[in-house]
């Protein structure tokens, strides 16, 4: 089973393939070397033979056959047993040299000729030879023993064969070793994954610590696991929160119905009970509706409906709608909204986002509070700010309030589902925007930064200059500022002189 798995494991397959390829390459290299060496040696052999033949021919033509035979014998003496000669006449009679006579043929020969002599002295040589008639009666054959060449060649072949075998052995062993090391690491990751699937979400894939691809893979997987664990934790939280938040109104509903059932009542009383029961049920349904809406927004499907929307227009509208609500509540609402800012998004959801933020500011602040709505084009993109000068949210709880059903202790008693800001967070995320909460000293400031719309700068040059002008000097938009001041002043009169909350215009920094 283990071997079967080994041959099926990807690392081992790669090792085998690698060994095969390196063997092939090595073999080709060795073959080229072998053939070059042999060719070179043979050429050297041929050159040596040619030179001797030339020397003998010169001797022959200058000083005659006997002088040539003398030189030949001298060569035989120096040759160390490697050089062999044959001089024979037309009839085949051996005139000189150490070889027995052959059937004469001309040019280059590879022959086997036995030596002169008798009995056990006779040896036969594998020769490379060149032969020619120096004159009609003098056939001269100059030869070199090729047995040494053959030996050399054998030696090379042997060593090359050994090298090749070693290559195969090493690359196979190395491949298998590396492969199984890899396999082990993959196996540990796989084991960890299995443990996680079995329910232990705190498990992580071990990281070897050498910062290689596998470590990075393990790292990515671990991050993914952390995210999954966080999400699972969220789901658990939300589930228990839902159960808790919905049990309360349902329990109250049940109590009321039961109390009504206890004794006979007048018709009007029943009507009252039924009305309040309907109201309780509506509250529960509303919570469900908000949850479904958030879920739908989070799924991202709405994005297909995105279009270019004038967020300045939305902000103006929503602020106008809520201004009387704020005033009736003894609060103020001031705006500082740049015109003509557009984002890629959904009008309905952005309207709800702004409405939720303003309502949130109105509902959790004491009388006399001023809520500010600011929108402007920053160099990096549109920036929406909703601020108040109320109690604010303690820093450590700021990120918590975005969680579903989370409510600050102080606002436990005010009505609401605790889903308003979760929806704001979901809509923000859907639009690729960034939400942050700061201390407005006093109060809370919620900032939503949209990413810069590329078309904004090309299609609407006015918007672009406004955007560029914001960072540098306020006097560029002088007219705009005047308009804004006029609006604030007019509003201030209307609302009984509410002042701007501390930093409504410095929101985006």
């Amino acid at each position: 089973m283990q071997t079967l798995r080994l041959t099926h494991a990807a690392p081992v397959r790669y090792a085998l393939a690698f060994a095969g390829l390196s063997t092939l390459a090595m073999g080709a290299l060795l073959a080229v070397i072998y053939w070059s060496v042999i060719l070179l040696l043979e050429q050297h052999l041929d050159i040596a033979i040619e030179q001797q033949q030339l020397a003998l021919r010169n001797q022959f033509s200058n000083d005659g056959r006997d002088a040539m035979l003398g030189l030949l014998n001298q060569y035989l003496g120096d040759g160390g047993g490697l050089q062999h000669y044959l001089v024979q006449d037309r009839s085949g009679q051996v005139l000189g040299g150490d070889l027995s006579s052959i059937e004469p043929s001309l040019g280059w020969l590879d022959v086997t000729i036995s030596s002169t002599g008798s009995g056990t002295d006779i040896r036969s040589y594998d020769l490379r030879a060149r032969s020619d008639y120096f004159d009609e009666d003098t056939y001269v054959l100059v030869a070199l023993d090729t047995s040494e060449l053959a030996e050399t060649s054998n030696m090379i072949l042997w060593s090359f064969g050994f090298t090749l075998a070693a290559t195969i052995a090493i690359s196979l062993a190395g491949g298998v070793a590396i492969g199984s090391a890899l396999l082990r690491r993959v196996q540990t990751a796989s084991d960890a994954a299995r443990a996680i699937m079995d329910g232990d979400l705190s498990q992580r894939i071990p990281v070897a610590g050498n910062d290689d691809e596998i470590d990075r893979l393990a790292d990515s997987l671990n991050q993914m696991l952390a995210r999954i664990e966080e999400l699972m934790e969220n789901v658990r939280h939300v589930t228990s929160d839902i159960a808790h938040d919905l049990r309360t109104p349902l329990g109250r509903l049940r109590q009321r119905l039961e109390a009504a059932r206890l004794k006979e009542r007048a018709a009007g009383e029943y009507e009252e009970v039924i009305d309040s029961a309907i109201a309780d049920t509506d509250a529960v349904l509303k919570t469900f509706d908000a949850m479904l809406r958030i879920a739908q927004i989070e799924s991202g499907g709405v994005r297909s409906r995105f279009a270019r929307v004038d967020i300045s227009d939305i902000a103006d509208n929503v602020a106008e709608i809520f201004r009387p609500v704020a005033e009736d509540d003894g609060k103020g609402l001031v705006t500082d909204i740049e015109t003509g800012i557009r984002v890629h998004g959904d009008r309905e959801l952005l309207t709800q986002l702004l409405a939720n933020l303003i309502e949130n500011a109105l509902r959790h602040t004491p009388q006399g509070t001023t809520v500010g709505v600011g929108l402007r084009m920053d160099p990096v993109g549109p920036c929406l700010v909703v601020s108040d000068d109320g109690r604010g949210i303690p820093e450590e709880e700021r990120h918590q309030v975005l969680r579903r059903f989370y409510r600050l202790d102080a606002s436990r008693t005010t009505p609401g589902s605790g889903l308003g800001l979760s929806l704001v967070a979901a809509v923000t995320k859907l639009h690729g925007a960034e939400l942050s909460m700061q201390d407005n000293a006093p109060g809370l400031r919620v900032t939503i930064r949209f990413s810069r719309d590329i078309e904004q700068s090309t299609r609407d040059p006015r918007g672009a200059t406004l955007g560029a002008g914001v960072g540098t000097t306020r006097s560029i938009g002088g007219q705009r500022l005047t308009r804004r001041e006029a609006r604030i002043r007019a509003h201030g009169r209307e609302s009984g002189g509410h002042s701007m909350p501390a930093r409504i215009e410095g929101g985006c920094d």
């Binding site: 309907i278 509706d289 479904l292 927004i297 709608i321 309207t351 308003g420």
Partner: protein, 231 residues
């Protein structure tokens, strides 16, 4: 009115039918999409209430089909999805209004009345009148009993919507959707606030009350003598 209800949930269908009968409307019911389409094309109806999710043929396809064949009967979609996309896709398919289940019957009734009495598109009115209240849509002015009533643009829109549906009950949700373009339910009393401001301007200074609160349902703009008959 003669109303066709295409709804597969027996309880909801009966709930709608009983309620409509009580208010003097005749109701035909279809439980599957195929039956619904057949009945919609066969008989003339004043209004159709169509569930989005139906067996055999879904509500969207039914409405697309009958619109393609030239039937102009107003359609109100019902859906359990409560989704953001559903409203738009429903209206795109040819629906005229849209209501999310579960709904209050008063809401459905108000919307049915609003749809059923929609004036034909061709009549481009320039002046709206209810009793001694007069609205000039071109000059954007409102007078009551000959006296000018100063309204903010949004209050003007609110009053215009009420006047166009004079004599009918207009629900909170209908106002939110049509006057403020809010397709969600705000937690603060936006509608009540704006209503009381409007009332202070066009009702309080005068002898008779035109703007009435209908308990448990919404608001209605009408004179004294038509109070009973139009509900």
């Amino acid at each position: 009115m003669k109303i066709l209800v295409i709804e597969d949930d027996v309880e909801t269908a009966a709930y709608i039918a009983n309620g409509m009968n009580e208010h003097g409307h005749a109701v035909d019911m279809a439980a599957t999409g195929r039956d619904g389409l057949f009945m919609a094309t066969a008989g003339p109806y004043d209004l159709m209430i169509v569930d989005r999710m139906l067996p055999e043929l879904d509500g969207l396809s039914i409405v697309k089909t009958i619109r393609d064949s030239g039937v102009k009967t107003p359609v109100l979609f019902l859906t359990a999805l409560g989704g953001i996309d559903d409203r738009v896709s429903g209206l795109d398919a040819g629906g005229d209004d849209y209501l999310v289940k579960p709904f209050a019957f008063s809401e459905l009734l108000a919307r049915v009345h609003a749809l059923g009495r929609r004036p034909p598109m061709a009549a481009a009115e320039t002046v709206l009148r209810t009793e001694d209240l007069e609205m000039d849509l071109l000059k954007r002015t409102v007078t009551r009993h000959g006296r000018k009533v100063d309204l903010q643009p949004r209050e003007f829109r609110l009053l215009e919507y009420l006047m166009r549906h004079a004599g009918q009950v207009v629900t909170r949700t209908m106002l939110l959707e049509h006057v403020w373009d809010f397709h969600f339910d705000p937690h603060t009393n936006v509608v009540e606030t704006h209503m009381s401001r409007l009332r202070a301007k066009m009702d309080k200074p005068f002898d008779t009350q035109l703007l009435h609160t209908v308990r448990g349902a919404g608001y209605s703009l009408h004179g004294a003598e038509e109070a009973s008959c139009k509900r």
